[in-house]
Structures are given as C-alpha cells and as structure tokens.
C-alpha cells in the first residue's frame, strides 16, 4: 500500500470530507447511490426498500458531529490525531494512526466495512478493504476523493478471492490492524496470516434476541403497542433476518391468549412485510423456510389450533437453537429473564444485541449482561445502531491508533 498522504491533513478536515461525502450519499437520487443500490440488490437479493433503508441508516449516521463526538469520547480530543496534546494528569499523548489497516468483509450484509474504514481514515491510516463486488465501497471512496484528492493514495476497496489466494496472505501479513467480518472458519484462517504484532479485530457470527413481558405490553397505550409491534417486525424482517443485528429470537414472558400479543404481532408483521418485501432466497434457504412452514402446520394440526403465521414460529423446542430462517421469528414463551439466560447459556449463543421495550430498565440491562449481549436497544432500533455506540462491544477508532506518550 502507498505511503499515506492523509497525515498532512487535520483530523477535522478528514472528518469533514467523510461527512460531506456521506451527505451526498444520503440523497437517494445521488447517481452513484442509485447505481450502487442496483448492484447491492443483485448481490444480496434484497428488495429496493430494504437496500434503501440500509443506505439511509449508513449515510445519515456519518455526520461530522457524530464522528467527532465518537473520536473525542474515545481519544479525549480530535486534535490528538494530529499531534501531541496535553492530557490532564497524564503524559502528553499523540494518537497516531497505524500505517496499514485491512478490512475483510466478505461475509456480511450491506456496507458494514464502511464505518470501520472511515474511522481508520480518521486515524490517517492507509486502508484496504476487501468487500463484496457490489461497488458500494469503491463508489463511496470515489466520492471521498472528490472531496479531498489525498484519499486517492490512502484507501482502496477491491475484491479478491479469499482462502488460498497468495495475494491475500501477503497483504494480511503486512497489515498492522486487520478487521474481519466472517464465520467460524474464515476468522481463524485470516488470523493465521497476520504478523504476530498485528492487531486482529474479529467480528464473528452472533445472534440478537428480544425480551418482552406480554402483560406489561398489554398495559401500554395503543400507540406504544403499535410502535413496539412494528419495531419487532422491522427488526426481524429487515435483511430477511441476515446479520447479527437482526432479531433472531423473541422471548416473551406472561404470554397468554388474553394479552392478544401473538395476534397483534402477526398483524404487525403483515404490515411491515409490505413495507419491506422479502428478497430472493436461494433454493436451500427457500426449502428450509418451506419445511418450517410445514412443521408449523403439523404442530397446529396436532393441537387443533388455527394455522400459524408463516412468519412466526410459536413455542419452538426450547432445547434447540433458533432456526435462523429468513423472515421467521421464533417466539419462546418464558417465565422471566432467568429463563432467557438459561436458554442462551444452554445453546452457547454469542449475543450481539438484546432488544427490549425500555433499554433504561435496570432489569433489561441486567439481562443483557447476563446473556453476554454487547448492546441493549429498544425494539425497533436493533437494526439501526448509533455511530457513537460500540460495534460488537469494541471501540470505533481506538483499535486503529497507537499512543505515543511524551513524558
């Protein structure tokens, strides 16, 4: 990778350039975004509203205020990225960005590599991104270069074959920091190529879960109930359930017919499914969904109950992991939070987010801690994490810098 010329720029100038480029991409009619939307749809099979939602969330979040606030929170000041700064009660410090960052994001949904790449650029590191071949990253980088030509020598997005490609091993071996999104086989394989002193930032597969008390839900007013229900549906249906931010299982306490919860949730799913239609499934996933639907019919027939919604899997076996099928939300009736913790522990699930009605509720926070979640969010916002939050429990920029202390 070339020597970075971003180091001649101030961090504020870099942040401004990123925010300005993101602002252009926030316009759904911006031609590069229109082109990227089409290629993303072709790659993922997601429908246009889903891709638009993802791009809106991505680019609306990349504001100057949010970037600066995150950096200041982690490093103490923006200026620390430009040179030595005074730090109260500590030696002067310079948060110098590492030279080479590689981001591998071949097993992810839309644009997930973009946020770490932008923070690595804020740290003035050279960044190479291995991404899916939908041109989103490279098109956004073109916009960055239009803002500041210095980016041209600093950041590259490209695709290459993984696994045994010798170029990949060579590149990974030269990196100071490698951020990798992938599965249990890909991550160790990537790590094996790293220099011993390199920092590895893995983001493996995780699930997200929700918890709700149906009686407390029933006591809320109509507007709140509707918001929560449609939020649950949105969290579950977006990206057809792909990705660690999707709601993969909902645990419901006090789930009795009197609460009307299930019927109301089915109605909410039907409404939200219109807003975010299903994408194209491959044959394997389509068959798995069809099989589960048949099983739902079988179960209902045994209980002489009405046929369930194909989008809800009511009371699946509690001794098996959630099926993780697209647009099918398992609903687990539970006695309380302790049952959720037991289930998660029993299934050894790595948890990304816990969705709840009120993230400020101490009980919800305690449950998040108990199940190892790295985020507790209001149901309906699970797919839209704030830029200032940690991703996967990790800082946004600190992994990309090395502190130089002047004592």
């Amino acid at each position: 990778m070339p020597k970075t010329s971003l180091r001649a720029l101030s961090a504020r100038a870099i942040v401004t350039a990123i925010a300005d480029a993101a602002d252009r991409w926030s316009d759904a009619d911006f031609p590069p975004r229109v082109r990227a939307t089409k290629t993303i749809e072709a790659r993922t099979g997601y429908t246009t509203p889903v891709v638009e939602y993802a791009l809106d969330r991505l680019f609306f979040s990349l504001t100057r205020e949010a970037l600066e606030a995150t950096i200041v929170d982690e490093l103490g000041s923006l200026a620390a990225l430009d040179g030595f700064v005074e730090r109260r009660g500590r030696p002067d410090g310079f948060a110098r960005g590492v030279d080479r960052v590689i981001i591998v994001s071949s097993d992810t949904t839309i644009g997930v590599a973009l946020v770490p790449a932008m923070f690595a650029l804020c740290a003035k590191s050279s960044v190479m991104i291995k991404d899916r071949n939908d041109t989103l990253l490279s098109a956004f980088i073109d916009s960055l270069i239009e803002e500041r030509p210095e980016f041209a020598e600093t950041v590259i997005a490209q695709t290459w074959r993984g696994g045994d490609d010798p170029r990949e091993a060579k590149l990974l071996g030269s990196a100071d920091v490698v951020v990798a999104f992938g599965g249990p086989q890909a991550l160790p394989a990537i790590r094996a190529h790293l220099h011993p002193d390199a920092t590895f930032v893995p983001f493996g597969h995780r699930v997200s879960a929700g918890y709700l008390d149906a009686q407390a839900f029933a006591a809320r007013d109509d507007r709140e109930r509707r918001e929560l229900l449609e939020g649950i549906a949105r969290d579950a249906l977006l990206y057809d359930g792909d990705g660690c931010l999707s709601l993969h299982a909902l645990f419901v306490a006090n789930l009795t017919p009197e609460t009307g919860f299930v019927d109301a949730l089915v109605a909410a799913f039907e409404r939200v499914a219109v807003e975010f239609p299903p994408g194209v499934l491959d044959a394997a996933r389509a068959a798995a969904v069809a099989s589960r639907e048949l099983l739902g019919t079988f179960r209902a027939a045994q209980r002489d109950e009405p046929a369930p919604s194909p989008m809800l899997d009511l009371a699946p076996p509690a001794d098996a992991p959630p099926a993780l099928l697209p647009r099918v939300l398992p609903i687990y009736p539970v006695g309380g939070p302790a049952d959720v913790a037991r289930y998660m522990e029993g299934q050894r699930l790595q948890v990304q987010a816990l969705g709840v009605a009120d993230p400020a509720d101490p009980g919800a926070r305690a449950l998040a801690e108990a199940i190892g979640a790295v985020r507790v969010a209001r149901l309906g916002t699970m797919q839209a994490p704030p830029l200032g939050g940690h991703h996967g429990g990790r800082p946004r920029i600190s992994d990309f810098i090395r502190w130089i202390d002047a004592e």
């Binding site: 499934l281 044959a283 394997a284 996933r285 389509a286 068959a287 798995a288 969904v289 069809a290 099989s291 589960r292 048949l294 099983l295 019919t297 079988f298 179960r299 209902a300 027939a301 045994q302 002489d304 046929a307 076996p317 001794d319 098996a320 992991p321 099926a323 993780l324």
Partner: protein
Amino acid sequence: MTADYRHEADALDARLQAVIAAPQTLDDDAFLSLACAIFAHQMRWNAPYAAYARRLGFGPDRLPETVADIPAVPSAAFKEAMLSTVGDRAAIRFETSGTTQGRGGVHALETADIYDAALLAGFDAALLDDGARLRYLLLVPDAAKRPQSSLGHMMAVVAAQRGDGHTAGFIDGDTLDVDGFLAAARAAVRDAQPVCVATTAFALVALLDALDARETQIALPPGSRLMETGGFKGRTRVVSREDLYTRTAATFGLPLHAIVAEYGMTELSSQYYDSHASRTTLDRRKAWPAWLRPIIVDPRGKPLPDGIVGAIRHVDLANRSSVVAIETEDLGAIVDGELILIGRERGAELRGCSLDAEDLAARA
C-alpha cells in the same frame, strides 16, 4: 389392535412384498394405487398424520389424485409426534439420534419384515447385482449395541443374509478399531475373499487418516466394494467427494465404480444408491427402487420439472406403518430419470451415526 387393522395391514404388506419381489410390476398407475391405499390406511390408523392430512384438506372423501398430492410431513415432525400406525407397539424404533440440532426423532415401524425386504432388495440391486457373497467389514454402529441405528440394522441384515459368515465390525461406541480392520482386511486378502466395506463417510475419513499415518495401503481382493453413506454438511471437517473417493481407491486398490454412495434417511425404509451408469465418474447420480419415488418440489410444495433444483420429497411405499410421504430440506434435481443430490441443507440432519463418527475421528 383391531381385526380391521390387522386385515388391512396384512393385505397391504402382502401387496408390498409382492412389489419388492417383482418391482417390474409396479408401473405408474400401480404405484399411485398402492400409495393411495397406504395413505388411506395411515389416515385411519396414524392419528398425528391424519390430523395433518385433514388440515391440508384430505380425508376419507378426498384422497390424493396424484402421487405428488399425497401430504408429505416434514422430516422434523418425527421429533414431535409418534408417526406410526401402531403407536407404542412398534417392533422397531429407529432414532435420528445425535443430530446437529441436538434433538432426536423416532421412526417407529410395526414390523421389520417390510423394512428388511426393502433394504435387501435395494442393496442387492445396487451392490450385489453380480450375486457376490461378500465378507462384510462394517464401520457403522453395531446393531446389537445400538438397535436404534437404522444404518446399523440395515448392514446387520445385509451381512447376515448376504455375507460369507465372517462379518466383523470395527466401531465400538466412539472407538475405531484400525488394527482390527487391518487384520480383517489382510485375512480377506489371504483368503482371496472379496469384501464389502460399509461405512459412514466420516468414519471412512478417520480410517483413511489412520492408514495414512501408518503409511499403510491394502489392496482389497478383486471384486471388493465399498459403500459409504452420510456426508459432511455441518460437520467440523468437510472432505470433498473427489478427495474421498480418490484416496479410497488408492488406499484399497478399488476401481472407482466399486465405491458406491448410499443416500438414505432414518425416516425412510428404502434407500437410494449411486446409479450403475454414473459410477465410473465422480459425477454421481442416484437411482431408487420401484417402490420409492423422489419428487422435486418448489417452496410451495409444487412439483418441479426435470432439471430444476428443489427440495426432495420422498414417497416410500415401504413406510406402510409410518408415513408414506416425507418432505426434506435436501436439494436435488431429476435428470434423465436419475436423482442428482445437490446437498443436504443448512440445518438438515445427517442420517444415523454421523455424529458418532465425528466424535470417533476426534478421538482416534
């Protein structure tokens, strides 16, 4: 058990035995006729299946008009209900134990008679069409110790009925007896006695690894063959068929066509095998006996034309005392009258003892 039931079941079993003995008599019309008769029988005596079929609109007044109309239960339903015409009075109970999902199901059958007749006829056609009496070296569960293993039962029956009287097994719990296998193979070579090695794919890998570690190869006597079953989807280690067969052929001195894959499920009474025509290549296709039919369906359950990939539904007449039609998540396509098995899906479960074999590989 009522006299009505006995009369009905015996009549159906007699028809099935006749078909198994003379499969050429079962044309499309005869298959549909027998399938509908079995479906009607199961509607009367298999309550969970009957409830399901009624939910789908079938009943005494509405029987299927085509084989594809027969309501197919998802294979996972075997974990949730006793899908049998005889309930707890089943003579044999095969378990889908040790699955990737961690939960097992039961395939309960009234009698072993039909099951054994079907498996023997299928095995004969697939592996013993030359009438060979082989020595069976088994890398499958021991049926005496694990009667719930359908694979163990199948090979025990084959070995007892078709073997040379010197059958030996080399898996005990999670231990692979490599020394024992080698001794038995060498004895067969000494006796010039062709063998049939029956193994799960994963146990075969474990055996090949062990022999590689010893830098040992053993050319099995001419006429020997190997039947492997199972797969690697969802396992910690995946071996390509090309690698597996190439190594197997080299290690045991077997021609490629002597290595035959079986495709079966605990929930079925009949099995698919590599077609004879496809065995000279690694591009294998499956053939099936006359009393078994695969139907490739789309996600809505509608049959797909030949050449189109979809989920595989099995209509197995030998499942007279359980469920005649089973929907799987396995993918395949029918081409030129043969089944191309695309793969077992994410979450789909392997037959029988594959997890045993994986444990075995880890500890061998």
